[in-house]
Each structure stands twice: as structure tokens, then as C-alpha cells.
Amino acid sequence: MDTSRNKYPVRLLQPLLATLLFCVVASAEAPNSCLDCHSVLDPPLQVTADQFSQDIHAQKGLTCASCHGGDPSKEDQDAMSKGAGFRGKIERKDIPALCGRCHSDSAYMRQYNPSLRTDQFAQYLTSVHGKLRAKGDDKVAVCTDCHGVHDLRPASDTRSKVNPLNVAQTCARCHADAAYMKGYSIPTDQFAAYSASVHHEALTVREDLSAPTCTTCHGNHGAAPPGVSTVQNVCSTCHVFQAQLFESSPHKVPFEAASLPGCVTCHSNHRIAHPSDAMLGTGPQSVCTNCHTAGDPGYQAATQIAQQLERLDASMKGSAEILDRAEAAGMEVSDAQLEQDQARDSLTKSRVAIHSFNPARVQQDVQAGLQSAAKTYREGGAALAERDYRRKGLALSLLAIVAVVIGLRLCIRQIESRRS
């Protein structure tokens, strides 16, 4: 049976069907008259489709109308009519409440991210920013100042302004600007100081995302400076043992009486340098001598603790040196090197224990370190003795080999002279 005639009309219909399908699919994408105009406007009114597509809200299906009202499906002024609920540009003072409308609604937020907190707005109201904002200060930070607007990304995105790696720069935009901060009577060198700190190094050089940035100590939405009496609580969220030792140390009561901020008194706040043993004792870099003078018990304790650490450090250097020599001679000293790690651990523990400001307490860890260092020193010495033993053995063996070679040579000569 010839079927070609039956197929012909179907072939004709194929392009028509494809065109129809394309039209249906194209019309399924909702029109956005906002972007049609705002993508070609000049900044600050410009919002491009590419920019908005990066925004987490756009990715979750929210549109311009979700914040600004109006009807993006209509053209021109109809889209921005009061009848369509158009709110226009959101005033700065209204931004926190507008964001809070969704972000404080746990039932609403649960559908996007069940683990996301919904207390940001409540926290903001308790922050220095929020309080000043409530008093009508229009310069203080609102949500969009830190999070951005129209290309807002989640904090886990390294391009986000609130990603841990970028938070300090985001805060510094206002807090390092002396002109902008004029009138607030707070310093503007925090970012410069923080940039020179051990925390900044850990975060940016070692890329340790758990290292503290501004929000770690000050809070984010509820940002405020930690009080003098509570600063050690902030530090103790990471430096647990130091804080525990400090709590029972002889410094605790006098610091409180003198209104000295715990950890900050010795370590500073933003410019927290890498701590060194030189901060102890009575040397030129000592922080103990800021308060203690020669003869007082604290001065004596500082001297004693510095000497304990110096002794352990010297002992470890001695054992490291002998192990290095043994290793350079090809001796297998990995067990001793493992023991040396224990001495290093004890030194670290001792450096933590100094926050007890009690020489007897520090001595416990120093003693353990000294024992490990002495053990590794003995093992290093034994390895060098073994090296010498091997060399003596080699010398004797070579003498024996030379004697045998000479003997063989004489034997050959004797055999050949006999034959000839």
C-alpha cells in the first residue's frame, strides 16, 4: 500500500507545529516591563537582567514587584500606577521593615530555607545601627548597605559582601571613612588595625573561615561594641581555655575593679598581634610591666613564668638541633620527632596556662614539655652515638676488606709466579 500521500500533510504541518510550540513556551515566561526600562536607564536607576538574575531573590522566584509593588506585566506607567500597588523607591528608613516583612516570617521563610534565622529585624532594632535609625539617623547602615541590592547573594557565596572574607571591607566602607563617621565620636582605624592582626592573617592568608571578622565579635544584625565587662566572653567563644584560666586568675577581680577590659588589656582589640613569649616577663616588649613594678608579687610571677617558658623553649631547641644533626647523618629518628611534637604541644599548653598567671600552674605543662624534650635529646644523642658506632664498624670492615684484597693480590702474584 502506498502511504506517501498520507504522510505529505503531516510533513507540511511540522514547521507550523514547531512555531506554535515556541510561541506557547515564549509566552509562558512572564513579561517584566520593569527590566525592559531599567536595564537601559543610567545608574542608579539601572538594573540589568544579568545583574538581577544573580540575585538570590530572583532565583527563588521573587520579582521587582515583591519589594517595589506595581505590575510588571503591564507597560509603561500602568505598571507603576498606584492602582497596581506601586511603591516606587523604598525609603532608607523603610528598608529594614520591608525586608523584615518576609525575613521575620518563619512560616514564609521555611519554604525557601528552613534553617535560616528569622530574627534579623528584631536583632537590628537592638543594634547601634537600629537604635540610631529609630532616632531618625539616616546615615546608619540598613540591610541593603551590607547585603547589597538587586544582585544580593547568600552569605556563603564568596562574592557576597557579607561572606566572611568580605565582611571587614563591607564594614570599613563606612567605619574607615573619617568624613562619613564624623559626628559619631568613634575611631575609624579599626579596619587598618584589624588588617594588621593575627585574626585577619588567619582569615585571608590561611583562608581559615572560622577566624574572626568584625561580625564574629560585634554581632551582625545586632551589631554593637562588646562591653568592657563582657569582652572576655566574646573572646572565650573561641579561646575557651584561656578564658577559663583567666576567670580563676588573680587578675580577674582587680581588672573588674579597675574597669579594665579582660583580654583587650594585654592583647588590644582590633590590632591583636601574634602573641609572643616576649609579651611576658619584664623585657621591653612585656605587657606585664604596664601594671606591675619591680618587687611586687605580679612582677615576680611574670619573671618566673617567662623564665619557665624560656627554659622549655631552649630545651626544645637543643633537642631539635641534635635530632636535625642525626637526621642529616641519615639516621632514622621519626619516633623521636613524634615525641618532639609532644614537647611542642606542652609548650602550646604552657602558653595557654600563662592565663592563670600562676607559675605553679604553668610549671605543670612546662615540666611535661621538659620531659619530652629531654627524652628526644637522649634519643638524638643515641642516634648520633649509633652513627659513630656505624662509622667505626665501617672503618674496621674496610680494613678487613683491604686486607682481603691485598691477600688476594698476593695470592694471584704467587700463583702466576709459580706458573711462569
Partner: protein, 359 residues
């Protein structure tokens, strides 16, 4: 005492008749005779490898969890374990060095020529086997360098067209270098390779015994012209005693290397750690490794590395069959082979040095 033992053996096994070929065997004496010692020294070092290898087997454990620790135990706790392991490692390298020197001495003295073609071929296979020993043994301590060198080495083997991938999977015992690779390499190192090598060494020695020691052509023609100038010595005892002297000297060198520079252990291999920078193979693979590094990524439409591997493969086959390429009495082919030998030696030496100097 010695005489009575000899008489006892003679009565039962006709010892005198058994050792007659050796007693009749002679070694030519001329200004280049010292090159004859290289083969014997290589054999001696192979014997050292067998002896020390058996001692290492008493403590070594071929699994990813225990290999490193067992070698560490040998180096630190076992009486003279450090000496046995260091001698095993140093002797392995010296054996390959003396085998390469032996190969080039045979080439330049033209000892491969008729009727000794098969002696050359068996010697070349033994050299390749020695390199196989080196490659498989290198992984056994399961340290970082060995792990990544094996990874790179087996990856290169995987580049061979058609058979490359199955070969790599076979060598690794899977897609990656794991404990299965270690166990496999251990099997190659202590069973497969020693078995084949022993048979080939016996064949090589039998062929040498059958055809005698080669005299360099120019010495041979000189002796033909002046028969009174020809010199030779008995293998037993004259040459053997001299060989013994060479063995003792080799033993002294080995002892000195082991005592003054014990073979290192490194750190235990961590398959999840990134490869350390500047990873390099053993020195005898360096000229190939460096060449593959220098070859452009693409040569015409072909992958540069594949071209390099194929070239080395073809060169290895041609080199092994070199005696068959020299036609009798044709000076041109002799000069070609001599030129190729000088080129190969210069290329291998310069590429090896370059490989160690280059970052």
C-alpha cells in the same frame, strides 16, 4: 680438609670432569680487559640483592597499612636492619649502574657481534628486568615519593596506545594506586621478576661459557698479525681471584654508602594528600621522564607524550636487536652503531643531569 672434601665429591660426582670446562676457560688479556669485570660485579650485586632481599622478607609486610611501619621497624629496631635495607637499596642502584656500564662496554668493544647476538639480547632483557625490579621495589616502603612516582610511572604506561589502559589497570590492580598496587608490586618484585631473572642469568652465563670471552676486533686483528703478542689467563683461578677482588671492593663501596648515607625512609604515603612539588623518578628513568616533559603537547595531530613513549619503545626494541643490524664486514653499519651508542650515552647522561637540575 679441602682436599678430602674434593676427593669425596670427585668419587661420587666426578667433580674434576664437572669443573673441567671452567678450568679450561680462559680470559683474553689486553689493555681493555678491566671492562670484563663489570658483568661479574653486576652478578655479585644481584646476589647481594637476593641475600638482603630474603632477610628483608623476614620483617617486611606488603600491605598499605603495614608496609611503611614494617620498613621503619627494620630500620630502627631490627639488629643490623638498617644495614640490610640500606645495602639492598644502594646495591639495587649500583646494580643498574654497573649493568648499564656493562651494556655500553659490550657495545663499544663490539662484543655483541656474531656469534654472541643472543648473549646481547639476553643481557638487554636482564637490564630491562633490573629496571622492573627498581620500579616495583621503589613502591614497597609505601612512602610519599614512591607513591607518587608510581602514580606518575603507571600513568605514563597508561599512555601506550591500545594496551596502555589495560596495562595500567593491571599494574595498579585497579584504577588508582592503592594497597592492591603494593601487594601486586611485591609479588612482581619477590616472585615473578626473580624467577625470570634467575633463568635468564643462567642462560646469559651459559652463552658466555659457550662462546667464550670476546676480544675487541682491533686487538683480535693485532693478535692475528702478531700471534706472539696474544695473551690470556685462566679463568680458574687467575680471573676469578681478580673478580673476587672487584667484588670485595664493591662490597666496601656498598658498606661505606650504607654506613655514611643510610637509605632514607621519608614520610608515609597519603593517597589523599596532594602530590609534593618536583616529584622525580629514580635516576635510571630520569632521561625518559625529562624527555617526556620536554616533548610538546601535540606533535602534528598526535599526543606528544604518546609519541615519546612509542619512540622509547621502538628505540628499546631496536637497541635489543642491535647485533642483527650489523652486517658482516660492512664498515658503515659498524660506524652507525658506534655513533648511535655515543649519541645514546650522551643523550641519557645529559637528560639525566638536566632532569635533576631543571625545576
Amino acid at each position: 680438609m679441602l682436599t678430602s672434601v674434593r676427593n669425596w665429591l670427585d668419587e661420587r660426582f666426578d667433580w674434576a670432569a664437572l669443573t673441567a670446562p671452567l678450568r679450561k676457560k680462559t680470559v683474553p688479556v689486553h689493555q681493555l680487559s678491566y671492562w670484563y669485570f663489570l658483568g661479574g660485579i653486576t652478578l655479585f650485586l644481584f646476589g647481594i640483592q637476593v641475600g638482603t632481599g630474603i632477610l628483608l622478607l623476614l620483617y617486611y609486610r606488603p600491605s598499605a597499612n603495614e608496609a611503611f611501619e614494617s620498613v621503619q621497624y627494620i630500620m630502627t629496631r631490627v639488629q643490623f636492619g638498617w644495614l640490610v635495607r640500606s645495602i639492598h637499596s644502594w646495591a639495587a642502584n649500583l646494580m643498574i649502574f654497573t649493568a648499564v656500564c656493562h651494556m655500553f662496554s659490550v657495545l663499544f668493544l663490539r662484543a655483541y657481534r656474531k656469534p654472541r647476538e643472543l648473549t646481547w639480547v639476553s643481557g638487554m632483557i636482564l637490564l630491562f628486568l633490573a629496571m622492573g625490579f627498581g620500579f616495583s621495589g621503589y613502591l614497597l616502603p609505601w612512602n610519599t615519593l614512591a607513591f607518587f612516582a608510581t602514580k606518575v610511572g603507571t600513568e605514563i604506561a597508561g599512555q601506550v596506545p591500545i594496551i596502555g589502559r589495560p596495562l595500567m589497570v593491571f599494574l595498579r590492580g585497579g584504577e588508582e594506586v592503592t594497597g592492591a598496587t603494593l601487594t601486586r608490586f611485591f609479588g612482581f618484585h619477590v616472585a615473578v621478576l626473580p624467577g625470570i631473572t634467575t633463568l635468564l642469568v643462567l642462560l646469559h652465563l651459559a652463552l658466555i661459557q659457550r662462546f667464550g670471552i670476546s676480544v675487541p676486533p682491533h686487538v683480535e686483528s693485532q693478535w692475528k698479525a702478531h700471534p706472539d703478542e696474544s695473551r690470556e689467563m685462566h679463568f680458574l683461578p687467575n680471573f676469578l681471584l681478580r673478580e673476587l677482588m672487584a667484588w670485595y671492593i664493591a662490597l666496601g663501596v656498598l658498606g661505606a654508602l650504607a654506613a655514611l648515607s643510610p637509605w632514607g625512609l621519608g614520610t608515609k604515603a597519603d593517597p589523599f594528600a596532594p602530590a609534593p612539588a618536583g616529584i622525580k623518578p629514580e635516576w635510571y628513568f630520569m632521561f625518559m621522564f625529562q624527555t617526556l616533559k620536554l616533548i610538546p603537547a601535540k606533535i602534528w595531530r598526535l599526543d606528544g607524550e604518546v609519541v615519546g613513549i612509542l619512540l622509547f619503545g621502538v628505540a628499546g626494541v631496536i637497541w635489543s636487536l642491535l647485533p642483527f643490524l650489523e652486517r658482516d664486514g660492512k664498515g658503515r653499519s659498524r660506524r652507525w652503531i658506534l655513533g648511535a651508542g655515543i649519541f645514546a650515552l650522551a643523550y641519557m647522561a645529559s637528560m639525566t643531569v638536566y632532569g635533576y637540575v631543571a625545576k
